[in-house]
């Protein structure tokens, strides 16, 4: 019985929340009890398994015996003993607990580049990465290419910035290599501020060395001896793994002085964000590293001319950098062979919201949105209908269901009034109110506005006030025009990208869902049944059996009634939390 066994347990933030640590220790105990030599590795599995997303499928476990992999889903600690006995010892997988066809359907249309090693490598072990050609790209670039040649490869690949703006990476690096002086900085932007986006978190947690490799190659290309990773503090696991990876890379000579004997020095420091969305903007990020309030400044001068501490600085997104080692390994032509004419390669998306298969996906640019939603995503949960897909986070817009054949690439998304953004893709159905969505995004951008420029500081506040009035049933004639005019002013005159894009959700939802705005304003009605002040929860007397279940879950004791007699909701006390609506098994509670 000399099998080579390895067990991989998902240990990203989601996996740990689902009990990954306990499952791992159960495996360790059960294996020890059975006398099995097994390597229990930690890795971040990006494999999603059907219904609610990889995290939502509780703990995912890969059991690889002599190279044959079987994947389990929904694994709890008390299920581990059976797997060890029947599968590891007995050779027969526990068929009922394995993933089903939908797991494979989820993956069929995906093409993994950045995520290709997530779920395979142990992010806390550099040798695991090296065993999968890790750092080969670094060796290839440093040993066989000049910095100029390295930039030419990136140019030929067509790589565009993945942080949201899609600026050609090679053009940025080209400006940096031409910048004067020996002191230059390469910064990796791992601030990932968009709510609903967790692409960068997963890459840093799952394969931090790929990011480091991208930085090393980038720094070599532009001539930067110093690097920073600016990472949000809300990602403690990613920070920990990143720091460990830097330490290990240093020990192996991939970071530090005279890397690979080529006379190239590069050292990376980690800087934590402190909870400010605007610090994802490059000049604000630089100010934050300098220890100041993260307020943007006017550009030009651009960071490549005058950046951190006044020196030429290049800032690249995590995903952009993680692409670099793969491009160097497999060649520019390979990368440029994927995607469309102007949007090359792949893009990682965080597919969330009302979608059946929620999770992290990587697809070739140009894939029709329909295929993401229905083939990969499995359609809308609960059998409801797709209403819209929101992309680009608070800077983006909505793509209505009728335009679901839109290809997902920079240009096509721009044409329909949205943006690619960093990769957040939130699926909305008929129970989502588009006015409420616009208000939600403005609440965010208004509170994150740094306050420096009037258009954004005052503009977002006023836009939010108008939207709030509308959702509270206090909308006035002329509000829609006012929203449009004000939005246009804020867009054109704000100092930085935050203000310039904050009105996008408003303009996009007015463009496609004007009727919803009109219903809120003219009829004081929320068609989707979301806006609290336009809603009343009431009990349908005829349907109520008096089971008291609703009364028991009401957090403010607003429901009264005798057992087996129809109950009543006191509207003065009701806070419209919806707990009763969710609890009632007799459809006796009306929302409207």
């Amino acid at each position: 019985m000399n099998k080579v066994i390895s067990i991989k347990v998902c240990m990203g933030t989601g996996g740990i929340a689902a009990g990954g640590v306990e499952v791992m220790s159960s495996f360790e105990r059960a294996c020890a009890a059975a006398g099995m030599p097994a390597t229990v590795e930690k890795n971040c599995s990006m494999h999603k398994v059907g219904c609610r997303g990889f995290c939502a499928r509780d703990v995912l476990v890969d059991v690889v015996i002599n190279g044959n992999k079987a994947t389990y889903q929904y694994i709890k600690p008390d299920m581990v003993e059976r797997i060890v006995n029947e599968h590891l010892m007995g050779g027969a997988p526990v068929a009922d607990w394995l993933v089903k066809d939908d797991y494979h359907t989820f993956h069929d249309k995906q093409v993994k580049v950045v995520l290709s090693d997530c779920g395979e490598v142990d992010p806390e072990d550099i040798d695991s990465y090296i065993s999968r050609e890790g750092y080969e790209a670094t060796k290839k670039v440093l040993m066989t290419m000049t910095p100029r040649e390295a930039i030419d490869v990136i140019k030929a690949s067509g790589l565009r910035g993945r942080g949201g703006a899609g600026f050609p990476t090679a053009v940025k690096w080209d400006m940096a290599i031409k910048a004067p002086g020996p002191t230059k900085y390469l910064i990796c932007n791992a601030d990932e501020g968009d709510p609903g986006a967790f692409m960068d978190r997963s890459v840093v947690e799952g394969n931090p060395h790929a990011v480091l490799e991208g930085m090393i190659i980038g720094a070599y290309a532009i001539g930067a001896p110093y690097g920073y990773v600016y990472i949000r503090a809300e990602y403690p696991l990613a920070v920990e793994r990143l720091r460990l990876a830097i330490k290990q890379a240093r020990e192996r000579g991939f970071l530090g002085k005279n890397i690979l004997g080529k006379g190239f020095d590069f050292m990376i420091k980690v800087k934590l964000g402190a909870g400010a969305f605007v610090c994802g903007e490059e000049t604000a990020l630089i100010a934050s590293i300098e220890g100041k309030r993260g307020q943007p400044r006017a550009k030009p001068p651009f960071p490549v001319q005058k950046g951190l501490w006044g020196y030429p600085t290049i800032i690249n997104n995590v995903e952009t950098l993680a692409n670099v080692p793969y491009i160097m390994r497999k060649g520019a032509a390979w990368y440029a062979g994927m995607g469309t004419e102007k949007s090359k390669g792949t893009k990682v998306f965080a597919l969330t919201g009302k979608i059946l298969n929620s999770g992290l996906i990587e697809v070739p640019m140009g894939i029709p949105l329909r295929e993401i939603i229905y083939d990969i995503g499995g359609g809308i949960e609960g059998g409801r209908k797709l209403k819209a897909v929101q992309t680009g986070g608070p800077s983006g817009g909505c793509i209505p269901a009728g335009m679901v054949d839109t290809p997902v690439d920079y240009e096509s998304l721009g044409k329909v009034g949205s943006i690619m953004g960093s990769g957040g893709m939130v699926v909305l159905d008929e129970t989502d109110c588009m006015v409420n969505m616009a208000k939600y995004f403005l609440e965010f951008t208004k509170s994150e506005s740094c306050g420096k420029c009037v258009p954004c500081r005052v503009g977002t506040k006023r836009l939010l006030e108008i939207l709030t009035r509308i959702t509270e049933g206090k909308g006035r004639k002329g509000d829609i025009d006012l929203l449009e005019t004000l939005s246009s002013d804020v867009k054109t005159s704000s100092l930085c990208g935050l203000g310039q894009t904050a009105p996008n959700p408003i303009l996009s939802t007015i463009k496609y869902y004007r009727d919803e705005y009109e219903a809120h304003i003219n009829e004081k009605r929320c068609p989707a049944g979301v806006c609290k002040d336009l809603l009343t929860y009431s009990i349908i007397e005829a349907a109520c059996t008096g089971c008291t279940a609703c009364a028991r879950v009401c957090p403010v004791s607003a429901i009264t009634g005798e057992r087996k007699k129809p109950h009543v909701i006191n509207q003065d006390l009701c806070i419209k939390c919806g707990a009763c609506f969710d609890k009632c098994r007799f459809k006796a509670i009306k929302k409207g």
Partner: protein
């Protein structure tokens, strides 16, 4: 307290930190930014306290008031929002009797903080109770957890008497 502050200052000099990292250390050490701590450091670095406060009030991570013993973090990311986080937060604030406009209960037992995105969107809505991440939270689950927390606090208060 002085000893701890000396440690923080030493680390700042050692690691070429900046004012933000000092504030992060203070927050981590004391749970919030104590005024006397800021004044102590400001004197020794010859940096006006206003500079520290300018930074502290800019970033969401820093708190100028003490936090509750139990910290409940509600994720307000897009996916969580779409899955009903707003309702959950409303019921939390009511249940824990948090005054309007504040985030901490008057008896300093509970803090409800809203954060922009925890990054666990596939298990939305997400509520973190004293560092344990709970996913796919429903009103019922949440109220149960709160009742347990409150009972725990009452029991502690009892046995302390």
């Amino acid at each position: 307290m002085e000893k701890k502050l000396e440690g923080i200052l030493a680390r700042y000099h050692e690691n070429e930190g900046n004012l933000i990292s000092i504030l992060q250390d203070l927050e981590s050490e004391f749970g919030y930014l104590r005024e006397d701590a800021i004044y102590w450091i400001s004197e020794r670095l010859d940096v006006p306290p206003a500079k520290f406060y300018g930074i502290a009030t800019f970033y969401a991570q820093f708190h100028l008031k003490p936090r509750g013993k139990n910290v409940i973090t509600a994720c307000c990311g897009t996916a969580c929002h779409v899955k009903g986080s707003a309702r959950l937060i409303d019921s939390l604030l009511k249940e824990l009797k948090i005054p309007h406009g504040e985030d901490t209960s008057e008896d300093l037992k509970f803090t409800v903080e809203k954060v922009n995105c925890v990054g666990a969107c596939s298990i939305a809505p997400v509520i973190i109770i004293n560092k344990t991440v709970h996913g796919k939270v429903t009103s019922e689950m949440l109220m149960k957890e709160m009742k347990t927390l409150k009972a725990g606090e009452q029991q502690q208060a009892h046995s302390a008497k």
